[in-house]
């Protein structure tokens, strides 16, 4: 559920036994022109702005919390009513000038502060997983595609094996077996471990067709080493593919982190994460809906923004609108 399927992946899966993806018919768009075409797209810009806001919120978390007056771990018993089993006092889960987004029922922790610090955790994990997955995916995809033969066979078998796993259940199993001391780091490792084959498969396919092109041949003829060819000739041509695949993968990682935290194998309390906030709101959903609605809305909007953005970037890259 958490790995958003992309059309790029589906193409590969549909063929059953296909070897290598077909290369795009037109040369891919280059980065700078991509940005220009992107800025003309209003929906994409709106999504970008929301993501930027979340990132800024995450970066400025300590400052924002100073302004709002409550830290993410501070209990405020005066905001909850002990006679009602700890329900927040006031409308909307205790929203008001004192607590902007209300408080958690029971212990009265400030939800705004927890959202802000939760953004920190969610973004750090999602972005770190994205970087690690991309590096692994690109490197293994390039190696398998360029060298072919036995190297390709080994890498391909490993990829097939990893993709045959029920990733979510396996992540849960691995995370529940591991000690809980360094969960944020482990989350990144586990998500990337199961995530890289999806990118690597496509990079491999494109590398296989790129290495037959004339410019690679001429580079080889002029005495360039394999490493030089891979990184100077082939990699730049894969830029748009990598950008598209990576943008499309981010919402999956955000969702996976939240889902794992929701199930109790992700970020360990009291450190806040959006998924984990929603998990702890489950017993209260009927009497204090604001408690799940606020982190739920933030999470949904973030995943939606990344999804739409990925979609638009893909369309722009494919249509060649941004090409010089």
């Amino acid at each position: 559920m958490t790995f958003t399927s992309t059309d790029l992946e589906v193409e590969g899966a549909a063929g059953g036994e296909t070897v290598g993806e077909p290369a795009p018919a037109s040369p891919p768009a280059q980065g700078r022109h991509l940005v220009h075409a992107f800025l003309r797209d209003r929906v994409a810009v709106a999504c970008g702005v929301y993501i930027l806001l979340v990132v800024l919120m995450a970066l400025a978390a300590p400052l924002l919390v100073k302004i709002s007056g409550y830290g993410p771990l501070e209990f405020d018993q005066s905001a909850v009513d002990p006679n009602l089993g700890g329900l927040p006092i006031g409308w909307g889960g205790g929203m008001g000038a004192e607590h902007w987004f209300g408080v958690e029922p029971g212990n009265g922790r400030d939800i705004f502060a927890r959202i802000v610090y939760g953004a920190r955790v969610s973004m750090t994990i999602a972005l770190a997983a994205t970087v690690l997955t991309s590096v692994l995916g690109v490197v293994f995809g390039l190696i398998a595609g360029y060298f072919g033969g036995r190297v390709d066979m080994v890498v391909s078998r490993v990829m097939e094996f990893l993709m045959a796993f029920p990733a979510l259940i396996f992540m849960i199993a691995v995370l529940s077996a591991l000690p809980a001391d360094n969960r944020q780091f482990l989350l990144v490792v586990v998500i990337s471990f199961f995530g890289w084959p999806y990118l690597a498969r496509i990079v491999r396919g494109q590398t296989m067709s790129l290495k037959e092109r004339e410019f690679v041949e001429s580079a080889r003829a002029s005495g360039a080493s394999s490493l030089q060819i891979i990184f100077k000739e082939i990699l730049p041509n894969l830029a748009s593919t990598i950008i598209v695949m990576t943008t499309l993968a981010v919402p999956g990682y955000v969702g996976t982190e939240a889902g794992l935290s929701f199930l109790g194998v992700g970020v360990v309390p009291p450190t806040p994460s959006w998924g984990q906030m929603i998990a702890s709101s489950v017993p209260w959903y009927a009497v204090d809906p604001a408690y799940f609605l606020i982190p739920g809305a933030f999470l949904f909007m973030l995943v939606l923004s990344f999804t739409v953005l990925g979609d638009r970037v893909k369309k722009i890259a494919e249509s060649g609108e941004g090409r010089a």
């Binding site: 094996f161 045959a164 029920p166 259940i169 529940s176 929701f262 809906p289 995943v303 999804t307």
Partner: protein
């Protein structure tokens, strides 16, 4: 064909063996000592040693792995003497926390999970293909844009957020649906339907969105093919062109991913069953995580992997039946 089957079966056994080994290594190497857990508080080192010996935990890795694998086929016995516990084949392990064989625990909860999974699969298949077709027919118009918005929402909303929202609106505020419980179909078909409706929607939403997009893209693409133009030029009725030439090639890829997605349902069921408190295999896994009941987690993991591998194989076979070009033997 038989050689192809044999190849696939062999590959499946290899992957399953790999999954078993991988899972076993994770739980063997990384997890805390189960003997300490079983012993509980007020435990002496001698007692721990005793338990370890009884359970064969003092054996080397390969011996334990072998005992586990053979337990799957011929069953095994935990401990010796009067306290020995029999675990009949297929023995997936024994949960010391609940004093039950894991196989029994899973079998008890399988019907609920199967109900949720099959209902959800039907729902997303039908709504996905229907939505995709409508979008393709009305390409670029309002219906298409509306469905595109819905699919983006469906792909992005985490299913537990959707579950809580639906439950809050439909059950708590409006009172239209009952709080989901595992009502049996035989007792009251209407109540059965109403109780399982929310779990089906929640589990189906993400896949429904993906299927809509895939169907739309495929149908639009196949309508542009030369053979469709030829069929039209021949004067074939539009309905026949659609059915015979546009839909069939467009829906073949759906078969492929359907098998994989269905096999992967157990992961989604974990969250859906937990949120709605339905006692299926997913809830069992989620509860076992909280209690750190490792034999159960391991068994569910293996079950999930088994489903995925079998699903992939069924898809391959179906694909061979639908599209003769992919037959492996003929490639050589």
């Amino acid at each position: 064909m038989s050689r192809f089957l044999l190849n696939r079966l062999l590959g499946m056994v290899v992957v399953l063996f790999g999954v078993c080994l991988f899972t076993f290594v994770i739980f063997f190497v990384l997890s805390p000592d189960p003997a300490v857990q079983i012993c509980g508080k007020n435990c002496t080192p001698e007692a721990i040693d005793q338990i370890r010996e009884n359970l064969g935990l003092d054996q080397p890795f390969w011996t334990q792995f072998w005992t586990f694998i053979s337990g799957l086929f011929v069953g095994r016995t935990y401990g010796t003497g009067p306290n020995a516990i029999d675990c009949a084949a297929p023995c997936l392990g024994y949960s010391f926390q609940t004093s039950q064989p894991v196989t029994d625990m899973i079998m008890q909860r399988l019907p609920v999970s199967a109900t949720i999974a099959i209902g959800a699969a039907l729902l997303w298949l039908l709504s996905g293909v229907a939505g995709g077709l409508i979008s393709a027919v009305r390409e670029g118009r309002f219906a298409d844009r509306f469905i595109a918005g819905l699919t983006l929402t469906g792909m992005s909303i985490p299913n537990y957020v959707l579950a809580l929202s639906l439950q809050f609106v439909l059950v708590v505020t409006l009172g239209w649906l009952p709080f989901p419980q595992a009502v049996s179909f035989g007792n009251d078909p209407l109540q059965w339907f109403l109780n399982f409706l929310m779990p089906w929607i929640v589990l189906a939403i993400g896949a429904a969105a993906v299927y809509t997009r895939l169907t739309r893209a495929n149908v639009i693409e196949s309508l542009q093919e030369n053979y469709v133009r030829t069929a039209r030029a021949k004067g074939l009725s539009p309905g026949l062109v659609w059915r015979r030439h546009a839909l069939r090639p467009a829906l073949t890829p759906i078969v492929t991913i359907f098998g994989m997605d269905f096999a992967n349902l157990l992961g989604g069921a974990l969250i859906t069953e937990t949120v709605f408190g339905l006692n299926g295999v997913g809830k069992l896994a989620a509860d076992s995580i909280t209690k750190n009941d490792q034999p159960v987690i391991m068994a569910v993991t293996l079950l999930a992997a088994f489903l995925v591998v079998v699903g992939a194989m069924v898809v391959d076979l179906l694909y061979t039946a639908i599209d003769p070009r992919v037959r492996v033997g003929s490639a050589k």
